[in-house]
Subunit: 319 residues, 2 copies
């Protein structure tokens, strides 16, 4: 059997691929070269997961990789109808980002509740001003997105004594269906978005939604930017419909220096970093090598995306 060809969408060598030396022909490509290389690749590693070049370059019915892996949790940037319709297997980096993102969300919740931004601002002004902070235990949160990231956020919030309602696409044991979201959001102190971007979730957090929330409540997005109508969120904060928000993801990344979002009152803007703890690239590389070994041996792959749904379905142990 000839060596298979692994195409890597990234110009920098990604870590850990050295382990596959002599067993696979590795080709690196940038976005411009992708379309020309795809027909000759057996597998594609989308290492530069910020790229949406796969959409444009996917060869349709022509020769194409049998396997595409993306070093990200979300697959929205590459899942085009042609890839969805093909028999190519698509996998994601499930397992790498759950804990870091859940910790990040907890950090934002506590930063708001304990007014860390206010403390830092007063410190710069050398002002001692005692304030009452909020207790997190006993608060109510809604986590939108019942995949592994949403579940890990739920687990950590519950460990702090927060009452959490987890909302998925459809109702299952201990998970609410999307039809419950409005009712739950109206009661929540915290609404946290950790859902995949699909045609069902695009734009779902809009003026109507923020209008449902309590004036004391806060909204956090660690999913994908286009789920939030950013102008509506800015309006809701300016009008004090809600008390605060934090966005780690945006419709256009990096956020333009001229964007009005940078100085919306009560909004924390961070640069799509929630999942990226020290060593994350190494863990992504290790994960890919392990999956490559399975693929090369003809064994079933984990983390297979349901291309119709647009994410890796979580199989509940009880189902």
């Amino acid at each position: 059997m000839p060596e298979p060809t692994l195409l890597v969408l990234d110009t920098d060598p990604s870590p850990r691929l050295g382990r596959l030396t002599g067993r696979v022909r590795i080709r690196y490509t940038d976005e411009a070269g992708l379309a020309g290389q795809l027909p000759h690749a057996d597998a594609l590693l989308v290492w530069d997961f910020t790229s949406d070049a796969v959409r444009a370059a996917w060869p349709g019915d022509g020769p194409r990789p049998r396997w595409v892996h993306t070093a990200s949790a979300g697959v929205d940037r590459l899942l085009c109808p042609e890839l969805a319709a093909s028999d190519t297997v698509l996998t994601n980096a499930r397992g790498v980002f759950e804990r870091p993102i859940a910790e990040y969300v907890l950090g934002l919740v506590l930063a708001f509740a304990k007014d860390v931004p206010g403390t830092l601002q007063l410190q710069r002004q050398r002002r001692w001003r005692h304030r009452e902070s909020q207790q997190v235990a006993g608060a109510r949160a809604v986590v939108v997105g019942a995949g592994p990231i949403g579940r890990e956020i739920t687990r950590l919030l519950m460990a702090l004594g927060v009452q959490v309602a987890l909302v998925g696409r459809t109702a299952r044991r201990s998970i609410h269906g999307a039809e419950d979201l409005d009712r739950l959001a109206a009661l929540a102190d915290w609404v946290i978005c950790a859902a995949p971007l699909t045609e069902r979730t695009r734009g779902m957090f809009d003026a109507r939604f923020f209008g449902l929330m309590q004036p004391s409540a806060r909204f956090i997005n660690v999913g994908r930017g286009p789920m939030v109508v950013e102008d509506d969120l800015a309006d809701a904060l300016h009008r004090r419909w809600i008390a605060g928000a934090a966005l780690d993801v945006f419709a256009h990344e990096p956020l333009d220096p001229g964007s009005a979002l940078w100085d919306v009152p009560g909004l924390i803007v961070s640069p799509h970093m929630s999942g990226d703890t020290v060593g994350w690239r190494d863990r992504l590389g290790e994960q890919f090598v392990e999956m490559y070994e399975l693929w090369a041996a003809g064994k079933p792959l984990p983390n297979v995306v349901d291309k119709r749904l647009g994410y890796v379905p979580v199989r509940d142990r009880s189902e």
Copy 2:
């Protein structure tokens, strides 16, 4: 039996005392009037717990209250040798501050680990700069102070997957004695002080101690200011002996606007607010009223301070 006299050190009426109407004669006093009133009081409520007027005004061998309650966890501001030597019972507000302070510490830990200060600074500059953050799970923490506050901090950190060593005055099951502190601090990513201020703990966090810590480690004080040699901490941060620190308590409060501590690099300064979540004054008032009912009925009081140790000893269920 005549109505007992309850003296309240505070000029503002404290909440909930209305419940004792008709059963106790309540007198309010400021610091200046304290010495004149103390001999006529049966009980003293130190509602203004920032005051150290009790030390100066305590009547020694003369007539004095049989019970002193302070609306704080620490008793360092009022526990003078004469009060310690007397048969007056001293109680504190144990039970009110544990969870808020533990949440506050968790908020500081996550703010450092996820670089919330850096995010807020970059946001003001409209700069998108992706950074790697730190995972909290798997880190090592030392919590100094094995009372209820230190235990609650330990519990919440462990819920996040932090490996915590709890250090008390003397070793007990699952608690390290003070003799282990240096060894544990040298391995820790986080050192958290939640100990009472006593003659044993005053000044214990000094240049020698910060010199033991790892350059990547951070120090948090939610106990009492005088446990930290503030100049030594500032030096340790300037010299990068440690990576960061947060002080919620200070040798002199409020911190002087001219203090050098306000702009030490890597130091978060907050105004003694860690335990004060919305409703805290009400909870303190409720707690006092409940304790007053017990006292008036001649029943044993909870939260009795061991005046020799300077804190309420925790009785382990297993001891």
